[in-house]
Symmetry: C2
Subunit: 287 residues, 2 copies
């Protein structure tokens, strides 16, 4: 079968197409999926790029955590899924050599989740990293349950930084579905349209508008939860607009620099800062 | 009646004893308590000291949030408490002019909690700030319920920084009562004895011992929750010894300086940093 692989880290030119990868056989608890769409997230190209690039890998790697396709074979001790089922995949390449950028993929059956007929494979391949990260972020507030459901976030106001991004888009959709009021920030009109399509009721341009003033006008008591893509840029704003006992869910850093958190304002408002790495959370908890 | 008051902020010499304060009458929902013991916490002398000291106050203030005594009169619409009941008091001076450093005190009945016969007034006057802060800290972890009860923290390992301090002592007692394994740090033998008296099973001297090594030996998978009195000094240690999805509950700062939090290690471990100001929490939530 065909697969995309790389054996040294570096720019996208390290990726190569091979056509003689053996078809894998599912072991106990595993399924084989015919991949229809492979999803790409920042984590995929960051892993491929490596620290400084040019590192020789012990094994060839197939990139991409997310994907969607059709179950093609099941191993022993697998129940609830049969060949022909449409599925979406998550964390496929996490601590494994085989991601979704290949024709067939074997992985634990829990990582192949039923995809309803009405949903496209494109949608399925967009869920894994972005939606799991968004879910984790939205459950970080003390008034949120461990799992979202309609009504679970009723009464909460959520600020999604960067609502046109992949995680931001998923956060808007899930927060609205769970009953929250959603405010989001974007850098321009085209992204505003994308954020509105995801369901955001209130879209603020963070380049041209006074975001703090806009948020206060929309929610005078402040926001309960911020889903934050760029804390280096936005932490002071977040602290300013958070309501007492509010939470900042942090899943990304542009700089990798330590985060500087004002102490007394955080204490006075009883702020929670929840750092998130979706891999380690989803590995520890069943989705 | 007699009371301790101050009208300008500053050193303890600003406190004066007056003996002609009128006996207050409880209004609707209020009780009057004959104070037997008044408790002193850092917040009391910090408030008295003020920012730079020497500020003239709009009203004379009676210090001290905590205390214990006997209900002496009840106002209209008060149920569940009658004159003669022994009680402990919390947040008495929070956004009010009258703390517990006086013979009689009127306050909302919810802030006068029954004190069992077996418990001394000294104990009662030690509960408010320290025990509420400790309770809040211990419920910050994602696997802890909103209210503690025996067994609520079973399976969790809690590191209490400064186990001989007032909040630290209360945190040890409550964590043990709720079923956690407790490790604590102290600066010397006398404090170690105090921490053990509170119930700490494992006491580490943070001046002479390698705390990280000692904690790893006691709990190889790390600790779930740190109740942190001195994050400026200890945050790197906390991050080092925390287990994945662990929490740091932060209630104090020596310096008031912003806290510098390493981003990637916090993200990789899904760490939660919960800042706490007990006043605003207890005002928002019924205890
Ligand atoms: N911790 C985890 O488990 C985890 C999981 C998923 C993703 N991530 C990380 O999260 C980041 C985003 O991932 P993604 O897939 O969502 O990427 P993406 O689709 O490229 O979205 C990033 C978004 O961030 C927005 N943004 C940048 N600076 C902003 C600011 N100052 N204020 C508001 N928005 C801002 C951008 O909007 P504009 O272009 O309009 O500025 C863009 O829409 C990446 O660094 C990724 O590695 C981490
Ligand atoms: N946010 C809130 O709502 C809240 C509530 C209560 C208290 N507080 C604050 O919390 C602080 C402590 O209050 P408290 O009543 O518990 O005071 P305390 O009884 O004086 O206790 C302070 C303890 O901190 C310990 N300590 C200092 N540096 C340490 C370090 N590097 N490692 C481990 N332990 C260390 C001290 O132990 P050694 O002498 O052995 O070093 C001492 O036992 C005060 O600043 C207070 O204002 C805040």
């Amino acid at each position: 079968m065909r697969a995309i692989t790389y054996t040294t880290t570096g720019p996208s030119s390290v990726l190569g197409l091979i056509d003689d990868k053996p078809l894998p056989t599912p072991g106990p608890g595993e399924v084989r999926v015919r991949v229809v769409v492979s999803g790409v997230n920042p984590t995929d190209w960051k892993s491929r790029q490596g620290g400084s690039g040019g590192e020789q890998l012990p094994h060839p790697l197939v990139p991409n955590q997310d994907g969607a396709g059709v179950v093609d074979a099941v191993g022993p001790d697998v129940s609830g899924v049969v060949p022909g089922d449409r599925v979406w995949l998550w964390d496929a390449a996490w601590q494994r050599t085989d991601g979704t950028a290949q024709e067939y993929l074997v992985l634990p059956s829990a990582q192949a989740v039923p995809l309803p007929e009405a949903e496209s494979f494109d949608t399925g391949a967009s869920l894994g990293i972005p939606a799991l990260t968004a879910h984790r972020a939205l459950t970080a507030h003390e008034d949120a349950p461990d799992r979202l459901a309609p009504g679970a976030l009723s009464g909460l106001v959520v600020l999604v930084a960067g609502g046109a991004g992949a995680v931001g888009h998923a956060a808007i959709q899930l927060a609205r579905w769970a009953g929250a009021t959603v405010i989001t920030t974007v850098s321009g009109d085209r992204k505003g349209t994308m954020a509105r399509a995801a369901g955001a009721e209130h879209v603020v341009n963070y380049r041209t508008d006074d975001v703090a003033a806009a948020v206060r006008a929309l929610s005078p008591r402040g926001v309960d939860l911020v889903v934050e893509v760029n804390p280096d840029a936005n932490l002071a704003l977040d602290l300013d607009v958070l309501a007492p006992s509010g939470t900042v869910a942090l899943y990304a850093t542009d700089t990798g620099e330590p985060l500087t958190i004002p102490f007394r304002p955080s204490m006075t408002k009883n702020i929670r800062y929840q750092f998130i790495l979706t891999y380690t959370v989803t590995a520890a908890q069943t989705v």
